[in-house]
């Protein structure tokens, strides 16, 4: 039993799911669902179809080069079963998985940081340009003027006295 990768979207294909296509040159293509299969038949390039993992990796949207990703590799030479090795491997897998997830999340977070700066700048410019939609320019000025006049009168009165 092996969990394969879908050729198009790189999703896991569990046994009993998806389709397998064998081409005349003996190359095997596995698909997780008919969506990927149909896209393949339409000769779409997964590296250009935005929702696939292939696109995301090639466009730099996800972590590509990392030590934690080197652990999972298809190995062509089988190793003889050895209980100790297997149990150690399972534990190692769990730790590697947690580290990998952390690193992937951090990568995406860093990528999105610059967006925050842009948001700030956009808010500032929006306010500068369109403040007239919510605040009249001379909003409190009548009151201010009145206050000033009152103050001036009071001063005059004082001076007179």
């Amino acid at each position: 039993m092996r969990i394969e990768k879908c050729y198009f979207c790189s999703a896991p294909v569990y046994p009993g799911h998806g389709m397998m296509f064998v081409r005349n040159d003996c190359k095997v293509f596995r698909f997780c669902r008919s969506k990927c299969h149909k896209n393949f038949k339409k000769k779409r390039n997964p590296r250009k179809t935005r929702w696939t993992k292939a696109f995301r990796k090639s466009a730099g949207k996800e972590l590509t080069l990392d030590n934690s990703l080197e652990f999972e590799k298809r190995r062509n030479i089988p190793v003889k079963y050895n209980r100790e090795l297997w149990s150690k491997t399972v534990e190692a897998m769990k730790k590697v998985e947690s580290i990998k997830n952390k690193r992937q999340a951090r990568f995406i977070l860093n990528r999105l940081k610059s967006g925050k700066e842009l948001e700030k700048a956009a808010a500032i410019s929006e306010v500068k340009k369109n403040i007239h939609l919510i605040r009249a320019p001379h909003a409190g000025q009548a009151k201010q003027l009145e206050d000033k006049m009152v103050q001036k009168l009071a001063e005059d009165v004082e001076m007179d006295e």
């Binding site: 039993m1 092996r2 969990i3 896991p12 030590n67 934690s68 652990f71 999972e72 590799k73 298809r74 190995r75 089988p78 190793v79 003889k80 079963y81 050895n82 209980r83 090795l85 297997w86 150690k88 491997t89 399972v90 190692a92 897998m93 769990k94 730790k95 590697v96 998985e97 580290i99 952390k102 951090r106 700030k120 956009a122 808010a123 500032i124 929006e126 306010v127 369109n130 403040i131 939609l133 919510i134 605040r135 009249a136 001379h138 909003a139 409190g140 009548a142 009151k143």
Partner: protein, 601 residues
């Protein structure tokens, strides 16, 4: 390879036929309907398809011709030489070369014109380009007329060549013309070669088959060879020479003892000596034929010189063919002894033991079947017990294969613990360096206020856009001043913007003051002079004039509406609107008279 495919070479059509076939195929197999008003990309695609289709067809057929015809380098040298003799190697290669060139030219033409067609901007232009492309391709092919004719003739001749397998057991008959070779082959095989009294009856190679010692033998009959040097030989003789040169066969040199062929025995001997080099490495038999006419013993002394050669009398197939066993020689090579030490062949011990065990009945080991029978229902096929593991007590373990969507087999590595340690160390370093700290910068108040204002602005803008979209844009656009603005909405809007609108009764937009102003104006102006004006002031509106009461009003209104309904239903703009939207509706006029009533269209 080339041996059997001479018969399967595709017919090479003449240039004219070729052009006709391809053009009519293009006409039939590509769409034919195109109109001027179609979109330009559709027009371009239509004509490009035709050009490409024609090119494809030419390419395919020419490629097939090129592959079907045998390459002289690939076939057996016997056939290569034979074809050279019959068809002239140079001419053959040239013809095929021309075809290849034509194919490439056609491809280039098509490529160029397809490229040009991308810039065609009208149907006429694209059509002219297509005509030009097809025309050029056909002209290229017309120039190949000679090559195609030649290749067709070659093909026809090739398919009629006798199938001589150069690698099987063969007997080759050679000698002067008219000595009796064809008669011999007729007798010995089922072949039916023409036998006539004149020389050169046989003009090409013929094959017959016969059986001897449960094996099939090929007998090849050649045209006669005359005695002159190689350069002066004509095509027919060259065929015989080619056969002699290339076929690994037993050669039967036939001599006519009675000199009925027209050549003396000495001449035949002369010829024999001349072509002797061709007999190298081939078993040779000299046949003295036509001995019934003149017995060997009657030969004069000078003729008895032939007896020095192996002279056999041809009587039945059995006798002569004994010699051909020599073709099936087997030779066991034994190394020469260099010293007295005996070196017998080496037989491994296991083989010896097995042989001994085979001789006596060895006790059988317990089979799986025996185990099954023993356990009965409890039996399960447990193949894991045969595994060869480092710790045999782990044989019955259930091996985990998958964890959380990952294959464990992908992680198995003898050095995994070391690598994991490295990774964890690296991770610790990163954590220390502060990579994973969550940076929650608390923004200062100013920034927060700005953000709030920005979101308010965006909301306001969206609302404005929505209201403007909901506006009724039919009819003439009236300026804003034509519409009356309610005092309350004005004051509310301004208050939202932050202005103080509390005490505004005596402002210029408050209604009461205006009405006062209006009344004053009325008193000052002159009374209305024309009657119509006064009448218009007092006239009732048209939908109320002449209507007595509410009941009548209701009836009048329904009458108006019902008369308008028909017009609305027909979608007519007025009484004179006689425009028909769909003069010939397709669903009524197209199709066969299938279901439903067929009494009328």
């Amino acid at each position: 390879m080339a041996l059997y495919n001479f018969k399967k070479i595709m017919v090479v059509p003449t240039a004219k036929d070729f052009i006709d076939i391809t053009l009519s195929k293009t006409q039939r197999k590509t769409p034919t309907v195109i109109h001027k008003h179609y979109q330009i990309h559709r027009i371009r695609h239509f004509y490009m398809r035709k050009v490409k289709f024609t090119q494809q067809n030419y390419h395919d057929r020419l490629s097939q011709i090129l592959t079907d015809f045998p390459k002289l380098d690939d076939v057996h040298p016997f056939y290569a030489d034979l074809m050279n003799v019959l068809y002239d190697k140079d001419h053959f290669k040239l013809a095929l070369g021309q075809i290849n060139i034509a194919k490439n030219l056609i491809d280039n033409v098509a490529k160029d014109y397809v490229r040009l067609m991308k810039y065609g901007d009208s149907l006429y232009r694209c059509k002219q380009l297509k005509r030009a492309a097809l025309g050029r391709m056909c002209t290229i092919l017309k120039r190949q007329k000679q090559s195609l004719e030649y290749l067709e003739q070659v093909r026809q001749h090739l398919s009629r060549l006798p199938t001589i397998d150069p690698n099987t057991r063969t007997l080759l008959l050679c000698g002067y013309p008219n000595v009796g070779k064809s008669s011999f082959i007729n007798k010995v095989t089922r072949a039916d070669v023409e036998v006539q009294p004149y020389a050169f009856t046989t003009k090409s190679l013929f094959v017959g088959h016969m059986d001897y010692k449960y094996l099939r033998w090929q007998v090849v009959d050649t045209p006669g060879i005359l005695d002159h040097p190689l350069e002066e030989r004509n095509t027919i003789e060259m065929q015989a020479i080619t056969a002699l040169a290339h076929l690994r066969a037993a050669v039967l040199y036939v001599m006519d003892v009675s000199e009925q062929c027209g050549h003396a025995l000495s001449q035949q001997l002369e010829l024999f000596n001349n072509i002797r080099p061709l007999f190298a490495n081939k078993p040779l038999i000299v046949m003295a034929n036509k001995c019934d006419v003149r017995k060997i013993s009657e030969l004069s002394e000078e003729n008895q010189a032939c007896d020095r050669l192996l002279a056999h009398r041809v009587d039945t197939k059995m006798k002569t063919k004994k010699v051909h066993d020599v073709l099936n020689r087997l030779h066991l090579a034994v190394p020469t002894k260099r010293d007295q030490k005996a070196r017998p062949p080496f037989i491994p011990e296991g083989a010896l033991l097995r042989r001994k065990a085979m001789e006596m009945d060895a006790p059988k080991r317990k089979l799986e079947r025996d185990l099954e029978v023993e356990l009965g229902d409890d039996y399960t096929l447990d193949l894991q017990k045969y595994w060869d593991l480092m710790n045999p007590e782990e044989k019955q373990d259930k091996i985990p294969e998958v964890w959380e969507g990952h294959n464990i087999a992908d992680y198995i590595d003898p050095e995994i613990m070391k690598r994991l340690e490295d990774l964890e160390r690296e991770e610790e370093l990163r954590e220390k360096a502060g990579e994973y700290d969550s940076e929650e910068e608390s923004e200062d108040e100013e920034m927060q206020e700005i953000r709030q204002l920005a979101s308010q602005i965006r909301e306001k803008r969206k609302l404005k856009i929505l209201t403007s979209k909901e506006k009724d844009t039919q009819g003439p656009r009236m300026p804003r001043t034509a519409k009356k603005v309610e005092r309350a909405t004005l004051e509310k809007e301004m208050a939202d913007l932050g202005l103080d609108m509390t005490d505004k009764d005596d402002s210029h937009y408050a209604l009461r003051s205006r009405s006062l102003v209006r009344k004053r104006k009325r008193e000052v102006s002159a009374p209305p002079t024309s009657r119509t004006r006064s009448q218009s002031a007092s006239r009732p509106p048209r939908d109320q004039s002449g209507v007595r009461d509410a009941k009548m009003l209701k009836k009048v209104k329904t009458m108006m509406k019902s008369s308008q309904k028909e017009m609305n239903r027909q979608g007519r703009k007025g009484e004179s609107d006689r425009h028909v939207f769909d003069v010939k509706p397709k669903h009524l006029l197209a199709g066969k008279r299938k279901s439903g009533s067929t009494s009328r269209r």
